[in-house]
Subunit: 228 residues, 2 copies
DNA sequence: GCAACATGTGTACACTGTGAACTTCATACA
DNA sequence: TGTATGAAGTTCACAGTGTACACATGTTGC
């Protein structure tokens, strides 16, 4: 059948829940992504979500995954063709675009950014807090019964892959020496992610976005110069 | 009288709540800092906390403030006297120590680090979510415009002040040019905070701490080289 | 047509933060 | 020496949360 919801069964509830999760987090961040809130919005009972997600965290992880895809897509748009014929300058431009694209996404979609990187942390269940100290042996990852589900693998996330590509391109173009290549992703990722973090819930929060992007350009420039 | 709790009144409940908050967040992060959990641990009713804090966020903010003090203290310990007589090298060493001290704190006290920078975000109340029409009966507004509540001033936080000091020292020592000084704090803060973030809930989470500190040294070196 | 199965509903429970009214105690003042 | 006052802690209540369990409903293979 089509994706209508004219009857008892919904059609594609999983898709609808994720879509509504995207809408909620876009405007109000990860704390708006309650299990009851999402199901209420879709017009379905709260427990219906458990047919498609092991728990709330799994829903958040699924939404976060789609946000990371959107982020990578916007970053790719950011990497337009470079007018410069010099491959050295092209490689540098590409790396710059990766960094600025990352930050641009965080600035223009703070709710999504927050959800992608801190969403699952926000929705943790409590653990009784009994007085004797426990070592918290949690780590129950719900075994990922479904196909997708890559909740915490930032290092496999599409934006990270773009960064790695750009850095490899730097080496290929001869702008970055091979022995300084390993570890460079952590410097770049740290600077760019840290800056986004400062914008989203740090001291740069209420600054004008043009001022923010000026500072962002400085940060990106500095870290590219720093990895050498 | 002393700080005993032998009678109906507690003595210094505010202090005890913060101390217990520090203990809880140290081992289990900001999500363990529930209002009921803290008061239960102290042995007092839940609403007793409201005599000392406007709400849960205020408690978290108070705990976060004390953590930032501890962080700055550990960073200051990290800045030991430099054997080098060269003031240029001293200034650089100082900046390096600020960065590595910051990261070291995050690595050795992840629960505290998370609480200091993300604690208040974790405990936000929801707002009904029905963007349709609201027929909520009269809602008495608490109108708490009265007392301040400034929980988010990272840029006035002690660790940030240490960074600014170190950068000014770089200029004074002639290692950093005056016209590249403005904005340099954002580059450094971004790189260091971003790296700490990757360690605390990013892809570097379960790496050995010696390996983490090796990578940290690289990041700090890169960003110092980058600001020029 | 009917069993098996997947999907959505209803009820219930243990939690949470917080408001309002009540109780206890320490202290200033007659 | 009382006694009013007010700060500090208690109890009760309420709305809201995630989720476990039993049940209802619709789809699909035989």
């Amino acid at each position: 059948m089509g994706s209508g919801r004219n009857s008892y069964h919904h059609g594609d509830l999983r898709r609808s829940l994720i879509d509504e999760g995207l809408a909620l987090t876009r405007s109000r961040g990860p704390r708006a992504l309650g299990l009851r809130a999402v199901t209420r919005q879709v017009g379905v009972s709260a427990n219906a979500a458990y047919r498609h997600f092991a728990n709330q965290q799994a829903l958040v992880a699924a939404v976060a995954g789609e946000i990371l895809e959107k982020m990578a897509a916007q970053m790719r748009e950011f990497i337009t063709a470079d007018p410069s014929p010099d491959p050295r300058e092209q490689a540098r431009h590409r790396l710059r675009a990766v960094g600025l694209g990352y930050i641009t996404f965080a600035v223009s979609e703070p709710g999504w950014f927050e959800t992608a990187f801190f969403g699952t942390e926000m929705s943790d269940r409590q653990s009784t807090g009994s007085d004797d100290h426990d070592e918290t042996p949690e780590r129950h990852e719900t075994a990922s019964d479904d196909h997708d589900e890559a909740p915490e693998h930032y290092d496999e996330a599409p934006p990270f892959a773009l960064l790695v590509e750009a850095l490899d391109g730097m080496v290929a173009a001869g702008v970055l020496s091979a022995e300084r290549r390993p570890g460079a992703e952590w410097s770049c990722w740290s600077a760019v992610h840290g800056f986004a973090e400062l914008v989203v819930h740090g001291p740069l929060r209420q600054r004008e976005s043009v001022e923010v992007m000026t500072l962002a350009a400085r940060v990106v420039e500095d870290i590219i110069a720093g990895i050498r």
